[in-house]
């Protein structure tokens, strides 16, 4: 479904990712792991269209989306739950979700809103609160829900557990598990190895902006030392 080939990207003159390749099949969950500064978030933001792509290609479905705008990618079915959640803090929860469904018809958006509320019942009572006033856990739920509203084929989630208490991490992973069971393709960037390996099929480890190891989640679980070798950063 997604084919990333020799991706080179960065901000301005700064290159964060030098030649990353991987692919994801429909319905699969890929975990991207690596040390801080390995280029995980940059890769994800490049897939979302927010980083200057300097080389390589991204193919989604059968089409080349390397140069597509973020709007275009959203229309084709790529949605993101970004690092730090980045909600529209002045808008209400409902409005945040409706912006997520901006490209869908009003009727579809209403149906999808119900789906999100089924997944995160806690948001029901928060619908008319400002997103900025929510706790971290609730914000993460809105962020996932907002991505769901776009009816994506591929959802990318950057550090879903960042700054969340263990209970909220559970809630979010349960939700991701449910989404995966509906056939949604996932790419997860995560620091918490254990959690992500419980849900991922494939693992891609980055080190200093390049792919250091790929394999199945099973292999990774069986050989934690393989991963650990790349987790310490450049020391």
């Amino acid at each position: 479904m997604l084919e990333v080939r020799d991706l080179v990207c960065g901000y301005g003159h700064l290159v964060a990712v030098h030649g990353v390749s991987f692919s994801v099949k429909a319905g699969e969950a890929l975990a991207i792991l690596g040390a801080n500064g390995a280029g995980k978030t940059s890769t994800l933001m490049a897939l979302a269209g927010h980083v200057d792509i300097k080389g390589g290609s991204i193919t989604f479905g059968d089409e080349d989306v390397t140069r597509a705008t973020p709007m275009d990618r959203c229309g084709r079915g790529i949605a993101i739950t970004p690092e730090g959640r980045r909600l529209f803090s002045d808008l209400t929860v409902r409005e945040n979700l409706m912006v997520g469904g901006y490209l869908r018809s009003m009727a579809r958006a209403k149906i999808n809103l119900e789906k999100v509320l089924d997944l995160f019942p806690r948001l029901k009572e928060r619908l008319h609160n400002r997103a900025g006033s929510l706790s971290g856990g609730e914000q993460q739920m809105v962020s996932i829900g907002r991505a769901m509203m776009a009816e994506p084929k591929l959802m990318m989630i950057d550090e879903v557990s960042l700054g969340l208490m263990p209970k909220n991490v559970d809630i979010c992973y349960e939700a991701l598990d449910k989404l995966r069971s509906t056939g949604l393709t996932l790419i997860l960037v995560e620091q918490s190895l254990e959690r992500v390996l419980s849900i991922a099929d494939q693992v891609c480890v980055l080190d200093s902006g390049a792919v250091a190891w790929t394999g199945s989640a099973g292999e990774a679980r069986g050989n934690p030392e393989i991963l650990d070798a790349y987790m310490g950063g450049a020391h």
């Binding site: 973020p70 529209f88 002045d90 808008l91 912006v99 490209l103």
Partner: protein, 286 residues
């Protein structure tokens, strides 16, 4: 009676401030830029209205074309001036905007001459009487114009999907793009609407004064900055209320304290006093 009439006159002036300042605050909310050249578009709107009205004989046609043209010029200003400067600290855009405003005023003077232009026929002496009050028709037009435009804006921003997309763009344009909001169109849209407002204000002022001059944007250029700060930068409702309040305060101020401070100083004494008590403006920044 005198007090009420003064207040009414203050509201007329405040309405003019509101129509100009609301556009400015929309743009501030979107780009965090103090768009001083907005006042140059206000003047442009007035010129086009006067010239076309004199040419065609129809004030309505003149105003409508003026709104359209100024709206488009507003988008061009965004494209050529602000878009390339979005990544820069805000004062860069401020100085660029001031430069553009200076060039615009001078441009009007060079093209249209320094004496100013007037309508061939005037509506200045028409009056509307309502119970004990009687106002110039142009004043009433200003009040009504402000009410209509601001209701239109409130509905657009608060009740439509487009308004929601606009507000999302204000908070986080990159994320808004990621959910399919064409933020470039949104920015063009805001500049178009804000500039149309400026054109309407310019046209109304042209009718009110029967005088359009190259420097007529001077006062709105700085007064509306004061207003959007008073209203809490980026806060549309706050800007509206601050406009009306300032209009009324100036109305009383010019009569009762005019011997000690001029009109601008009255406005800014009020501004400073308010900010010392409420540093985020009367109604809080968004």
């Amino acid at each position: 009676m005198l007090y009420i009439e003064l207040a009414l006159q203050g509201l007329v002036n405040g309405s003019m401030y509101a129509i100009v300042a609301v556009g400015l605050t929309l743009i501030y909310g979107l780009l965090r830029v103090l768009h001083v050249a907005h006042a140059g578009l206000f003047t442009l709107g007035a010129y086009i209205t006067v010239l076309l009205t004199n040419a065609t004989g129809s004030l309505v046609a003149g105003t409508l074309i003026s709104m359209l043209v100024v709206g488009i010029v507003g988008m061009v200003v965004y494209r050529l001036l602000y878009e390339p400067l979005l990544a820069q600290p805000p004062y860069v855009a401020l100085i660029a905007s001031i430069g553009l405003f200076i060039a615009m005023e001078e441009g009007y003077r060079i093209i249209f001459g320094p004496y100013g232009n007037s309508f061939a026929s005037t509506w200045l002496t028409e009056r509307v009487t309502l119970g004990p009050f009687s106002m110039a028709a142009a004043d009433v037009a200003m009040l009504l114009g402000a009410i209509v435009l601001l209701i239109f804006l409130a509905v657009l921003m608060g009740r439509t999907r487009l308004g929601m997309a606009w507000r999302a763009t204000v908070t986080d344009p990159a994320m808004a793009r990621s959910f399919g909001v064409d933020t470039i169109k949104v920015r063009y849209g805001i500049f178009f609407v804000a500039s149309v407002f400026a054109a309407v204000a310019g046209s109304l002022v042209a009718v009110l004064n029967n005088l359009v001059e190259p420097t007529m944007g001077d006062v709105p250029s700085y007064k509306s900055l004061a207003i959007i700060v008073l209203g809490g930068l980026g806060n549309v409702t706050g800007t509206l209320l601050a406009s009306l309040l300032l209009g009324v305060i100036e109305a009383y101020g010019t009569i009762y304290t005019g011997a000690y401070l001029d009109r601008d100083a009255i406005a800014f004494v009020f501004l400073i006093a308010v900010l010392m008590i409420r540093p985020q403006g009367l109604f809080g920044a968004r």
